[in-house]
């Protein structure tokens, strides 16, 4: 074999703490290495050209690049060597940046470590064989999980691009959190007015199949060919008959139901339609509050329903959909702010969340858009907004910023003044984070035009003063004085957390999530929409805090990724899959038993049972290889011999 080795300086990123020239000089002495050099930037155009040039001039049949993480540039260099006529798998990388130069300052130790990692890569490459990818057909349909604004955008873009969409929404209506908002910053236009038409488009698009009040039960398969089991949670209303006329909700005698859509600011009926613009506009019975379902005689809804849609015997049902790609847009929930005892653990009715305040201001909300105190229905004159409740609070394990609270708090302060001319708003903040277009100007307007008092400091305690108002103990750090405000209403800008059930969904999707349950993108900067599972993309807040414009942009970005993937009829399989040496196989079936993908089957070879790998199903985990005692099944490019070569390169001195 003739191997060329390239030790990248990466500017000073590597060369700063690794003697690259020395590593190249030592690498030149490794077996089969015929050429070694240390370019400044290997991944840049001249660097790649130099590799191609060296392959031709030195007749190389294998290349090792020592630079950054292969998770970053392995695909780049595979293409480089392929352009020069080599099989792309005759290439190995040594990670001497993230694993060497960036984590230690000792040049001598780093240089030695880099040299050994290059040796490791060379030894591995010596066992490489050319691999050929196979083409396999794909299902050109996409599953979108979550019908908030990000999911809606992704669904519409995909469907407009000609791709059939399966949209699954957990709640009874799509629209997500945006549908609950009154107005949106920084334009203060009506949320329903801009989201509503999009929701209608979803309902009317011929290529979109909507499953509302449904959840993902199980997912199997792989990019191009996923099989998804969807649980249609029972609504006790046959939606094929329900016309959304609302007669049932008017007559339902159980009027103490918790109203999730209105954040519980007022009770509702046991059978409901979330809000007038709901999509689908269908009724759902809340099992916890329905008299009939709790053993009492009632069934009023069934009696009044003109289409006979009520079905108390209905149970969850399951549907299986086959798709080639998945967009996850599951959004967020508010953290449980009632852990804060100093704010009353949730026992003071006039201390509410910002989302509840949106419903209070919303014309379609239970108060018809009149801002009143939940305790006594009186109009508040002194309103205190407290930011960062459950955000940037390491003491409760939530060090992150929720991103959009500063902006909506400014909006709510403005709207409060619009609703109640003689009111005064106070905002307790730590920093005003308003880096978007027209954002900072917006927070200035809240202060300059609307006279909101912004007070820099956290609030230590909120409690009723026994005379009908709330005492807010805060600090004005700019004044250097503790301050006390008598408030009629306190609105908490409660921090966000990953949507309930996000972790379980991540496990089904085989994608990663961070310590707070937000899904992990492939690369923070360069692959913000992709996940580590091919064919699964992210959109919206499920990936991290972001506002509506960013969620919409990411929804479109995810759709673009799906359309890119589906631009072809077939996909190339990863050729780094398991292969069986039939001679060595004794047909014990241990590999079949362990394979997570069911990608190994038993077949008769000359009358004997042998394992056989289904190439398009194998994902290349290598569990079978570690399981087979005879070493009869080997994962290409991670064979026992590859790994032994690496172990020996490190240990046999």
């Amino acid at each position: 074999m003739r191997i060329g080795v390239f030790i990248c300086h990466c500017g000073s990123n590597i060369a700063g703490t690794v003697d690259c020239a020395q590593v190249a000089a030592k690498a030149a002495l490794f077996p089969d290495v015929v050429y070694a050099t240390d370019p400044m930037y290997t991944c840049a155009e001249p660097g790649q050209a130099a590799i191609e040039e060296a392959i031709h001039s030195h007749k190389l049949d294998g290349v090792v690049v020592a630079s950054c993480s292969p998770r970053m540039h392995e695909p780049t260099f595979r293409k480089t060597v392929e352009r020069a006529g080599l099989n792309p798998y005759m290439f190995e990388m040594a990670n001497i940046r993230e694993h060497v130069s960036w984590i230690g300052r000792d040049i001598e130790a780093n240089t030695r470590k880099a040299t050994e990692l290059v040796r490791l890569a060379v030894e591995k490459l010596r066992h490489n064989r050319p691999l050929q990818a196979q083409e396999f057909p794909i299902t050109r349909r996409v599953l979108i999980i979550g019908g908030g604004v990000a999911g809606i955008q992704a669904a519409l873009d995909c469907a407009d691009g000609g791709i059939p969409v399966v949209l699954v929404e957990r709640e009874a209506t799509i629209g997500g959190k945006m549908a609950k908002l009154d107005k949106t910053f920084p334009t203060v236009d009506c949320s329903a007015c801009i989201l509503g038409p999009k929701m209608v488009d979803v309902a009317q698009h011929p290529l979109i199949t909507l499953y509302a009040h449904a959840e993902i039960e199980a997912i199997s398969g792989y990019v191009g060919n996923f099989s998804v089991s969807i649980r249609q949670r029972t609504t006790y209303v046959d939606w094929s008959k329900c016309t959304g006329c609302g007669t049932c909700t008017e007559k339902c005698p159980s009027k103490k139901s918790y109203d999730h859509f209105n954040e519980g600011i007022a009770p509702t009926t046991a059978i409901t339609i979330a809000f007038p613009q709901a999509i689908p506009k269908k009724a759902v019975i809340n099992k916890d509050f329905c008299r009939q379902l709790n053993g009492k005689k009632c069934a009023v809804c069934a009696k009044v329903c003109p289409t006979g849609a009520i079905d108390f015997a209905m149970e969850d049902s399951f549907v299986t959909e086959n798709v080639g790609s998945i967009v996850v847009a599951t959004g967020y929930d508010l953290m449980d702010w009632t852990i804060y005892g100093q704010y009353g653990h949730g026992r003071y009715p006039d201390v509410i969340t910002s989302l509840a305040y949106e419903r209070l201001m919303n014309a379609s909300g239970p108060t018809g858009g009149h801002i009143v105190r939940p305790s006594d229905g009186k109009e508040p004159k002194s309103v205190v907004f407290v930011q960062c409740v459950g955000s940037r609070d390491p003491a409760i394990g939530r060090p992150y910023c929720s991103g959009f609270c500063c902006m909506y708090t400014a909006k709510q302060a403005i709207l409060t003044k619009d609703h109640i001319q003689d009111s005064q708003s106070y905002v307790f903040y730590m920093d005003i984070r308003a880096p978007g277009k027209m954002y900072d100007e917006f927070t200035r307007r809240a202060q300059e035009e609307y006279g909101t008092h912004y007070i820099r400091g956290r609030v230590s305690q909120i409690f009723p003063d026994g005379q009908g108002q709330l005492t807010v103990l805060g600090m004005d750090t700019l004044l250097g004085r503790p301050v006390e405000i008598k408030a009629d209403l306190v609105v908490l800008a409660v921090g966000i957390e990953a949507s309930r059930g996000a972790r379980e969904l991540a496990e089904k999707l085989r994608i990663s999530y961070d310590a707070y349950g937000f899904f992990l993108e492939s690369h923070v900067k360069l692959k913000p929409v992709e996940t580590n599972t091919a064919g699964v993309f992210l959109a919206g807040v499920c990936q991290g805090a972001k506002d509506i414009p960013a969620s919409v942009a990411q929804g479109s970005a995810a759709a673009a990724k799906v359309l890119t993937l589906f631009a072809r009829e077939t996909l190339a399989s990863n050729p780094q899959i398991a292969q069986v040496t039939a001679k060595r196989c004794v047909g014990c079936g241990k590999c079949l038993r362990c394979c997570p993908f069911g990608a190994i089957k038993s077949s008769l070879v000359k009358g004997e049972e042998k394992a056989e790998v289904i190439a398009t199903m194998c994902q290349g985990c290598g569990l079978c290889t570690a399981t087979c005692p005879q070493g009869a099944i080997q994962l290409a490019h991670a064979t026992d011999d590859h790994i032994l070569a690496e172990v020996n390169a490190l240990c046999r001195l």
Binding site: C388, A395, S460, M475, T477, V483
Partner: protein
């Protein structure tokens, strides 16, 4: 002092010295991550003594972060802190602020920066009685304190009530342990003196 422009450069770390700076020293003594304070002011917001402070708790934390030793240790607030730990309970960075305050108080005492002497006088009066009697002796503490602070009318308004209700024991309790307590105080004084001598000796070198 409050209105003086502070020169922050003076607190630059020196290259060849391994000696911890003031902030690190306070962090080590209090075992608190001072550097994580992000000045939200929650400590001050809930502080029951804040109205009497010359420097708010969060400002004291800031002074420590910026190595403003003199500013931090001269604050009267150190002596007015009630030790109620509301600040610690609600700190979003889980800093035990009350412990930092106590650490600063110890340091201020070591440097003889006692900016509210009456408070220290009250403590010392209490401890003197304790040293003598092994248990607290309220009348004795009061008398000593009044003599020390020259505030001869302290709580005179309460005296009729207190006496009528026999709130204060007129005589110290008698118990066998008083001698043992006295010895604890004697040894403590010796150890304090010794560590002071050690410090002086090391600073001379």
């Amino acid at each position: 002092m409050m209105n003086k422009t502070l020169c922050l450069n003076s607190a630059l770390p020196t290259k060849d010295s391994n000696a911890p700076n003031f902030s690190q020293k306070v962090a080590a003594l209090s075992q608190q991550a001072i550097h994580t304070c992000y000045q939200c002011g929650n400590c001050s917001a809930g502080c029951p003594a804040a109205f009497a402070y010359d420097l708010q708790v969060n400002q004291i934390m800031r002074a420590v972060q910026l190595n403003q030793e003199d500013l931090a240790l001269s604050a009267k607030s150190l002596w007015l802190c009630l030790g109620c730990a509301t600040c610690s309970l609600r700190c979003p960075n889980a800093i035990d602020v009350a412990r930092v305050m106590e650490t600063l108080r110890h340091l201020a005492r070591q440097q003889n920066k006692i900016t509210v002497p009456v408070v220290e006088k009250f403590w010392l009066s209490f401890l003197n009685c304790l040293r003598a009697f092994g248990r607290s002796y309220e009348i004795g503490t009061m008398v000593l304190y009044m003599l020390r602070s020259l505030r001869l009318t302290t709580d005179l308004d309460l005296a009729p009530q207190a006496l009528a209700k026999a709130k204060l024991g007129l005589l110290p309790h008698t118990h066998a342990g008083r001698a043992a307590v006295g010895r604890i105080f004697t040894r403590f004084a010796e150890s304090e003196a010794q560590s002071k001598r050690d410090k002086e000796a090391s600073s001379c070198n």
